[in-house]
């Protein structure tokens, strides 16, 4: 985790640091067991439609299901991070697949089925000079040759 002082998250409520560890904030339906990320705004479960959603922590462990290294800047000026960058689908042990950014320093070693760990990274520095953080998935140390 980049412990940047005064950094702000891309959006409030996506993740938290609890018990010393980083977790994503999700919902789990107590009736059907379906898991959601981010937390739902609508008060019922999108699968069984019962109003039995409970907050849960997701991560930090995950496994890459698919990914793409993007060589072009996204249109529309919404994204202000570096290019190239990578994002993909990551399976979490809580039984949910989510879309997430993949840590920028490891674009060359990314692979399907690679074990990754939740982290945060400064995506860009805002016009007010505030670092803006995103949650990212980083290959586990044993996969990172540079740090062996």
């Amino acid at each position: 985790m980049d412990n940047i002082r005064n950094a702000r998250p891309l959006e409030e409520g996506l993740w938290t640091v609890a018990d010393g560890g980083l977790s994503l904030l999700g919902h789990r339906c107590a009736s059907c067991g379906e898991v959601f990320f981010p937390r739902r705004k609508c008060s019922h479960c999108a699968h069984c439609f019962r109003r039995t959603l409970e907050e849960i922590y997701l991560g930090p462990k995950g496994k890459i299901a698919s990914f793409s290294v993007v060589m072009i800047a996204p249109a529309g000026d919404f994204y202000r991070g570096p290019v190239p960058y990578a994002y993909g689908c990551v399976d979490l042990p809580e039984g949910i697949r989510i879309k997430g950014l993949l840590a920028r320093d490891y674009l060359d070693i990314l692979a399907v089925a690679m074990e990754v760990r939740l982290s945060t990274e400064v995506l860009y520095v805002s016009d007010e000079e505030i670092p803006v953080e995103a949650f990212v998935f980083k290959p586990l140390k044993e996969n990172r040759k540079d740090e062996q």
Binding site: E11, E34, Y79
Partner: protein, 384 residues
Amino acid sequence: MKPLSRMRDVFVTGIGLTTWGYYEKVFQYDIGSEAIMAALKDAAMEWREIQAVFCGSVYQGTASGHQVIKEVGFTGIPIVNVENACSSSGSAFRLAYQSIAAEIYDKVLVLGVEVMPRGPIPSTAFRPWELASGFNVQPANYANLTVRYMKSSGATLEDLALVTVKNRKNGALNPKARFQKPITLEEVMQSRIIATPLRLLHCCPLADGAAALILCGRRNVKYRRRAMQVAASTLTSACYGEGYLDLVDSLKYPPDEGFVSLSARQAYEEAGCGPSDIDIVQAYDTVSPSELWDLEELGFCAHGEAPPLLRKGHFDLRGRLPVNTDGGLMSRGHPLGATSGGQLCEIITQLWGEAGARQVEGAKIGLAHSMGAGPNSSVTILKK
């Protein structure tokens, strides 16, 4: 839901299609009115006979259909503007079809029109944090699906490139396509990477374009030989748990049937036919691998069979099941809101036997599929 096929028969009696491409200073009312005038001439019909307009577009701003009809001439009729991403004009077509089948109108115009913004298009069908994370790169979203498709089907990067090669070969015979030059496998495989594993020439080009179709009830058909019957027109959105573009699939509750298969199954039921009855297909090749999984989901072959069939020439213009006879999105280009309309115009042209050098002999029934952000899946079956 009452099956439309058990209501009044509906026919397409005229089409108008502009030449798709990028033009200097072209406006939607220029190409839109050009397509409408061509369709009226084709159907031997006067503008004042048209009782309603359904117009599909995505990036034309407010009241796009009205902007075009203002040029053609207002007559007080209802104009309904339909934005349904890449299925916009397919959705407009379905509304027109329903309104005639239900005997609300006798003669209706469907228009698809788009002057594309220049440069990469911002797909905004995402949440703010997803946009800020850069998740709105559609080639990258398709790339994620491609990675999984290649793994589960055994398709190779060369197979993906062969779709582009096939479609650009067909497009070379289509005087209305944006790109009318064939392309080699090497050119596709050496084009620059957009989002791994997809390269520039695995992705369809954009274009400006318009397509108009005139639909009538049986008693308003002037020339029966040129009236092609609408056998089915369906529209679906995502089934729970399915992953596509902005949607991530559920690990706990994956659907038994996805929204593309569902739209196809409903279409076959409505038309009273099956995939083996279809002579020609307009599949959705927004990226080249999507044509392969599309053909599988539309029921033309089992999962993993499309790549070997493609290699054997099964989907070639002279193959057993010609796919994207006009060059598809790869050659024609992709004016989002007009794309479904363009697909339908090609099916009609083929059924009329007027497709010239790209004519498929004896084509009697054709299927067009478009899909896009939302997601939406629109299947239309037209027959002689």
